[in-house]
Each structure stands twice: as structure tokens, then as C-alpha cells.
Amino acid sequence: MFDWFKYFDFPAWFPENVSTFGAELDGMFILIWYICVAIFILTYALLIYFLIKYREKPGVRAIGYHGNNMLEFTWTILPTFLFAGLGIYTDSAWEKTKNVSHIPKPDVTIDVMGQQFNWVYRYPGADGILGRRAPEFKTNDNIFGVDPKDEHGKDDFIIETEMHLPINKNILVNLSAKDVLHSFFLPNFRVKQDALPGSWMKVWFNGTKAGKYEIACAELCGASHYNMRGLLYMHSLDDYNKWYDEQTKAKSEQLAQALGTTAPTADTTATPAVTAGGTTEHGK
């Protein structure tokens, strides 16, 4: 009977949360939501009551009343404390999610680059270290601007659109854009950060559930902005390491082919990309 009521229950419409800090952020939304509903009911009740009670009636005259300073004072102070309290209360979550000095020690560090119109990801390869990058090396063949002289950069591998990460690990994303502004939006992880050409932003999250999730661009970036969809596969650690080893192997074979020799396969399979204990083989 009250089926339509669901339309007024905003918190029920969130997509599933699969990140460690998502529940806290959603909780803050829900807190503000309840405060707003309370204020809404209070003000609308007064408004509607006044509109009906004080409608024009023959013989009844309005009160020539100009105001009351005590009332003005009260309704200045109360919202000030309420709103200031909210601001201070929600600040801790803001610091935790966005402040660079609060980022936990990363287990996986990757580079993500937005370009018209897809997402490109750079993984550190077998040595676990991302090669050095600088803007002067940026070309259309080297959109990340990796220093060609840096040995760590040689085995880095780049994939597009589909991104793979392990669950229950702290992920650090270095985020930038190639051409125009983009915004890295992971709805299920409650992550959103604009990608700025010329700057590298640090974004972190920790996913709790394996599965396939969507990556969206949330900043207008041109005609095909709507189509800049990426996919994020969250794997268990074993599955992730397996995928990672395949990628590093493919990369080393590719490198070897370029050099005209066979790949030294032993190197790449020896070390798992991320160990179960959360040590940081390739956390920079």
C-alpha cells in the first residue's frame, strides 16, 4: 500500500557498497538525511498550518507585528551550532578518504590515466616498481610520460578499460589525465576524484567483495563522455596474483621478442605479485 513511500527514502537507492570507508560515508549521508527530514517536517508543518489558519477571513485583521529580536537570535544560533557540528563531524571521514597524509600504506600501487574516451591503467610489472615519469616524456606513444632510461619502467605493463585488483588490500591509484579533465568515479566504492592533466592525484580505497564493477567518468570530457565506461574486476588474492603473473609473463615475452631473445620465465613466476600478509612487493 505504501509502495510509493520508497521514493522518499533516499538512502535505499545507493548502489551496493563494497569499500571499507563506504559505509561511513553513506552513514553521514543518512545522518544528514534524517536531520533534513526533521527540519522539512517542522518547517512544512508550520508553513501549511499558517497558510490554512491565517487565510483571509472577513472581519479578521492581520497583526501589525514587526518581529522579535529574541526569536531572531534563537534561530540564528541554533542552525549555526547544528550546521557547524555537522561540518566538524563529517570532516574526519573527509580527511581519511582524501588527505594524502592519511593514506594507509598501499599494497598495490598503479597509475590510472583518463583520456578521451577511456581509462588506461599502468601496473608496475614483475619488479613491483613503477618506472619514473615526468611530463617532458609525455607523447602519444608514452601517455604516462615514463622515463625511457628508468629500468623499473621497462617491465611496466599497460592495459585499457578493464582494471583488475585484489580485494582486502589497500589500493593506491595515481590519477591523471592525458587531454582534458576527467573524473574517476567508482560508484560502488564511493570513490570520486577529478583527473587533472599535468598533475598526479593520489586516490586510495580498499574493496571488500570480489566481482565486476563499473568505472565511470563523472566530469564532462567531450561528446563521448557518456561512453567513457571502464570495468573494475575485484579478485581474491590468488586469482589476482594469477592474473598478474599472466600479465607480467606476457610483458616479458613481449620485451624479449623486441630484444630477439627468449623470456626468462623463472623470474616472473617466482614471486607472487602481492603476498597474503599484505607486504608490499610493489607498493612504492
Binding site: 522539512f40 514587526h66 542552525p79 563529517t90 570532516d91 598533475s199 557518456y226
Partner: protein, 609 residues
């Protein structure tokens, strides 16, 4: 009966006391390049209502594409050129971006700002402070006429094969810096709109400070004038910053400088195919400069409507506005704080999170004066004797919608909560509640309230109420569901939400929003018809149809150049409604007190100003 004396007759009777004699003016100087603030207000009204339709049409096309992606537009689809409508007449993604950009830019810069300032400001300021015209009438004329080439440039891409601007109304570089000729023209057009806006702002400040009638002290001015005055200050201080940002953006776009372009940007200019910028710039700089203007601009768009609503409420509740000085200080507070909150548009932009915390606090402080205004409006209704005219219903709609728009603003004021809802439809819902639900309803209220003075004809109250009620219903059906899809994560400015799996469940709601928006669009024809019909066949307006206190009602209906047919002296504040010492429930500012009233006041001093 003096009340139905037309402006024409009034001028014959009293023309000698006024310097201007409009009979000596040619048709062109009288109706086209006129210095008369009322003619300029009417010109603003005509153009803004026209652009309101253009911007509304763009909105409906945008909505059609979102709700029914890839389906041909009914009726209009076959008219679209291949580049915009493809082979079937369905909106192409590039055309979608143009429409979305134009909807935003037209509605903000060519509709709301000129409506609340150009139309309401021009009409009300000289009349409500009791003077014959603006302080700088010729500048006033230019401030209107500059809008015409500006608007043509803003939409100039319409005639180009490469199309109109596509970078959104915010025109963030680098995207706006690498767009083609339509974008370049848009930048120049917006610069000129800003220039016109500054001309108006300076004029309003000069007029309010220098041309008030005898006895009209600052604290006897109606709320509309106070709001317009503070708005003019905001325009004068804020718009030059936007202008500077636009000049730099123009250089980046046209001359390939690098104010906003970082080193080694891998992009190609659609204007001339170059892919070389010297680099070293910072895209965030534009956002800071842009929002330094555009956040105060939010208040430029709503403060005058707040003033109008205060006056309309006092008139139709037959009550003094509750807390007159508190309302003025609230407006001043909003005006000042409006300049230190711009960063809340940039929480997720890459700006330092520490700065984000600062802007959270200042943003939260600015919610307080808005809350004060809400409570004061409720206080004004309390104990009133409310007449539900169309103007009053608009004012009530304003307050109720502003409550929702204000509350939804709390969510995004918190940087942490903003992470998820930033750039989603939750934001779109929020600012449409404030800009349409509040600002535009304030403008409707102003039209219903002042039309009798503006044209000397009454609008049809029944049609007016019909327009307000249906606008209110369709408005809520259109924009309330946007909160829901916003919470669901629906991004702004995407041409086809069905690309994303997580948005597919909302497609039904998107269709519902679109049908409601179409309803909202067609409802506006009631207003248009009401205006056009009653311009020709409307009842003649009496001098003071609403039994109001403020000075404009002392002027004849449809006043000529020079405004007043009597000398105006102000004896009291604008809100002496239902005064306890008087039999009549209003006490106009210009009516001298009688001997008995002076005696009664001595015996029973009221707390009047």
C-alpha cells in the same frame, strides 16, 4: 477616477513638473533605444521570456535524449541537420553536449540574471525609491543592448557546421580551450554579457545611493531594493573576475597561450588543428576564478527574488515583514560570505583537501542567513490575513521550494558526503530547486505583482493561479526524482545512461522525469498567453490594485517617462500593514500622517520604524 488615469493623461496633467517629455522623442528613441528604465525593463522581459523558451526547448531535447537515447525526436527530429540528428533525427552525442551547454548558459546568463536584475531591477529601483529614472540612463540603455550581440555570439555556433559550444556552462579548460569556433564565440559572448551586467550593477548602486526620494532613508527601503542593491554590489565585485578568467581562456583557445594548459597536453585544437601549447599552466586556476564569480552569481540569481517574495508576502499577508533588519543583515551576510565559499564547487577537483575543510566550514556558515530568511518568512505568514493571488502563490512556492533546495544543499556542503554525490543528478536536483523552484518562481511572482504597473493592465488571476499550480506540480515531478537517480549514482551530462549497468534500473524514472519536464514546459504557455492576451484585452489596472505600501504604487498605472505625477515624500517604512492605530490595513509610504494619526501615535507609540 484617478486610479484609472492612463499614463498618457497623467503626463498631460502633470508633465510640466518633469524634465522629460516623451512626446518629443522619436519612435526609435522612445521604444527601441530608450533611456526610460521601464522601457528597458520591458525589453529585458521580452528577451528573457524569449530565451526562457529557447533554453527550455534545449532542456526538453536534452531530456528526450536521456530518457529515450537514440530515438528520433518527435516533430523536430526531421528538421535537424545530419551532423546533429544523424540519419534518423535522433540527437547525436556531440549535439547533446551543445544542447546541454546552451541550456545551462542561456538559462543562467540570458534568462535568470537578466530577469532578476535587468527586468526586476530596472523596473523597481527608480519606482520604489521614488525617482524619475536611473542615475545613468544612457549606460542603462547600453546594458540592455549589449546583451543582443552578446547573446548572438553565445549561441553563434548555431550557424556553424562545427556547432555550438560543448564544454558545459562552466567551460572548464582544457576541454573549452581545445574546442572549435562555437566555443570561441561563446567565450566572447559571455564576456560581453558580463560587461553588460557590470554596467547594470554600477548603475543600480549609483541610483540607490544617490536618487532616493525625500525621506527615503536606507532603512525605509523595501526588501526588493535592498536585495537588488546587495546584488549589484556582488555583480560589480564578482563579474570582473569572471571576465579576467574568460580573457585568459580566450587566449588559450584562440592564441594557444597556456594560462590553463599544463605542460605536454596531448590534445588537438578543434579550432585550427594545432596540438602545441607552451604549457606550464594549471587547469584548476580557471575553476578558482570561475567559481569566485559563479558562486556569488548563485546569489545574484536568487537575492532579488528573495526581495520580491518578501514584499509580495508582506502585501498579501497584510503584515509587516517579520524582522526587517534581520532580513537585511541576512542578505548582507549572504553577500559577504558568498565570496568565501567558492571552493565547495571544487571539493573533488584536486584542490588540496585541507582547503576543502576550510570551505566546508564557510559553506556551512552561509546556510545560517538562508535559514534566518526562511524563519522570517514563516514569521511573516504568522498572524496574517493571507490573500491567495497568483503572486502570493508564487511567493509561497518560492519559500517551500527554497526549503527543499536549501536542505539538499547541506549534503553537498559536507565534503565527505559530496564525494559520492558530486557531479550526479543530486546536484542537478539541488540547483534546479534553488534556481527554478526559488528564483524563477520569484520572477513569476514579480510578473504577476508588477504587471499592472508595468503595462497598466491586469493579468487574469485565474489563469495565473492555474499556471502557478501546474508549474509547481510539474516542477516537483520533474526535479524531485532527480534526487533519487542522483543517489543511485547517475552522472550529470551523460548523453546515454543505458551505457552503464548500474544506471539501467533508473531508466523508467528518467522517462518519467522527461514527460514531467514536457508538462512543465507546456505549462509556461499559460503565462505567455496570459501576458499577450491581457496586454491587448486586459482590464485596466487601478493605481494601487494590491493596496500596497511601496512607492511604485503612488505612480500612475503604466507611468510615462518621469514616473510620478506628484511630488514624493516618504513618511515611514514600507511595511506598515495592519497598523494598530489605523482603520485601513495599509499605510502607504507616501501618505502624510493626519493630525489624528500623529496624536494617536503619541498616545500609543507603535514599534514602527
Amino acid at each position: 477616477m484617478e486610479a484609472i488615469a492612463s499614463a498618457h493623461e497623467a503626463h498631460h496633467d502633470h508633465g510640466d513638473s518633469h524634465a522629460h517629455d516623451h512626446h518629443s522623442l522619436s519612435f526609435v528613441r522612445k521604444y527601441i533605444f530608450s533611456n526610460d528604465h521601464k522601457v528597458i525593463a520591458k525589453q529585458f522581459m521580452t528577451t528573457t521570456l524569449f530565451f526562457f523558451m529557447v533554453g527550455g526547448l534545449a532542456a526538453l531535447l536534452v531530456r528526450w535524449q536521456i530518457a529515450f537515447p537514440g530515438e528520433p525526436v518527435p516533430f523536430l527530429g526531421s528538421l535537424l541537420p545530419e551532423a546533429w540528428g544523424g540519419s534518423t533525427g535522433a540527437i547525436q552525442p556531440g549535439f547533446y553536449s551543445q544542447l546541454m551547454t546552451m541550456h545551462g548558459a542561456i538559462m543562467l546568463f540570458l534568462v535568470i540574471i537578466p530577469m532578476v536584475n535587468g527586468m526586476i531591477g530596472n523596473f523597481c529601483i527608480p519606482l520604489m525609491i521614488g525617482t524619475d529614472d536611473m542615475a545613468l540612463p544612457t549606460l542603462n540603455m547600453f546594458s540592455f543592448w549589449l546583451n543582443i550581440p552578446a547573446a548572438m555570439l553565445l549561441m553563434g555556433g548555431f550557424v556553424l557546421e562545427s556547432g555550438m559550444a560543448t564544454a558545459g556552462w562552466t567551460a572548464y579548460p582544457p576541454l573549452s580551450a581545445i574546442q572549435g569556433a562555437g566555443q570561441t564565440m561563446w567565450i566572447v559572448g559571455l564576456f560581453l554579457v558580463g560587461f553588460a551586467s557590470i554596467m547594470g550593477g554600477i548603475n543600480y548602486i549609483a541610483t540607490v545611493l544617490n536618487k532616493r526620494a525625500k525621506g527615503m532613508s536606507m532603512f525605509r527601503m523595501p526588501m526588493t531594493i535592498w536585495a537588488l542593491f546587495i546584488t549589484a554590489v556582488l555583480i560589480t565585485l564578482g563579474t570582473p573576475v569572471l571576465a579576467s578568467a574568460l580573457v585568459m581562456l580566450f587566449f588559450d583557445n584562440f592564441l594557444h597561450t597556456s594560462f590553463f594548459i599544463p605542460t605536454n597536453l596531448l590534445a588537438t585544437s578543434a579550432l585550427d588543428g594545432t596540438n602545441h601549447w607552451s604549457g606550464g599552466g594549471q587547469p584548476l586556476l580557471f575553476q578558482h576564478l570561475f567559481w569566485f564569480y559563479s558562486h556569488p552569481a548563485v546569489y545574484i540569481m536568487i537575492l532579488p527574488s528573495m526581495g520580491v517574495v518578501s514584499d509580495v508576502m508582506a502585501t498579501f499577508a497584510r503584515k509587516p515583514i517579520f524582522g526587517y533588519k534581520a532580513m537585511i543583515f541576512a542578505i548582507m551576510g549572504i553577500g559577504f560570505l558568498g565570496f568565501i565559499v567558492w571552493g565547495h564547487h571544487m571539493f573533488q577537483s584536486g584542490m588540496s583537501p585541507l582547503l576543502g575543510t576550510t570551505f566546508v566550514l564557510s559553506t556551512i556558515v552561509i546556510a545560517v542567513p538562508s535559514a534566518i530568511k526562511i524563519f522570517n518568512w514563516l514569521g511573516t505568514l504568522w498572524g496574517g490575513s493571507i490573500r491567495y493571488t497568483a503572486a502570493m502563490m508564487c511567493a509561497v512556492a518560492f519559500v517551500s521550494m527554497f526549503i527543499i533546495g536549501g536542505l539538499s544543499g547541506i549534503f553537498m556542503a559536507s565534503a565527505a558526503v559530496d564525494i559520492y554525490i558530486h557531479d550526479t543528478y543530486f546536484i542537478v536536483a539541488h540547483f534546479h530547486y534553488v534556481l527554478f523552484g526559488a528564483s524563477i518562481f520569484g520572477v513569476f511572482s514579480a510578473i504577476y505583482y508588477w504587471f499592472p504597473k508595468m503595462y497598466g493592465k491586469m493579468l487574469n488571476e485565474g489563469w495565473g493561479r492555474m499556471h502557478v499550480i501546474w508549474s509547481f506540480i510539474f516542477f516537483n515531478l520533474t526535479f524531485f526524482p532527480m534526487h533519487i537517480i542522483g543517489v543511485g549514482g547517475h552522472m550529470r551530462r551523460i548523453a546515454d545512461p543505458t551505457v552503464y549497468d548500474f544506471l539501467k534500473p533508473f531508466q523508467g524514472m528518467n522517462a518519467f522525469i522527461t514527460w514531467s519536464a514536457i508538462g512543465l514546459g507546456f505549462t509556461q504557455f499559460i503565462l505567455l498567453f496570459n501576458i499577450i492576451w491581457n496586454l491587448n484585452y486586459g482590464k485596466k489596472a487601478p493605481r494601487n490594485p494590491w493596496r500596497s505600501n511601496t512607492l511604485e504604487w503612488a505612480a500612475p498605472p503604466h507611468p510615462g517617462h518621469g514616473n510620478f505625477d506628484t511630488d514624493i515624500t516618504v513618511y515611514r517604512g514600507p511595511y506598515e500593514y495592519s497598523h494598530e492605530n489605523r482603520e485601513s490595513d495599509y499605510w502607504p509610504q507616501w501618505v502624510p500622517p493626519t493630525e489624528e494619526e500623529i496624536e494617536a501615535e503619541k498616545l500609543n507609540p507603535s514599534h514602527a520604524h
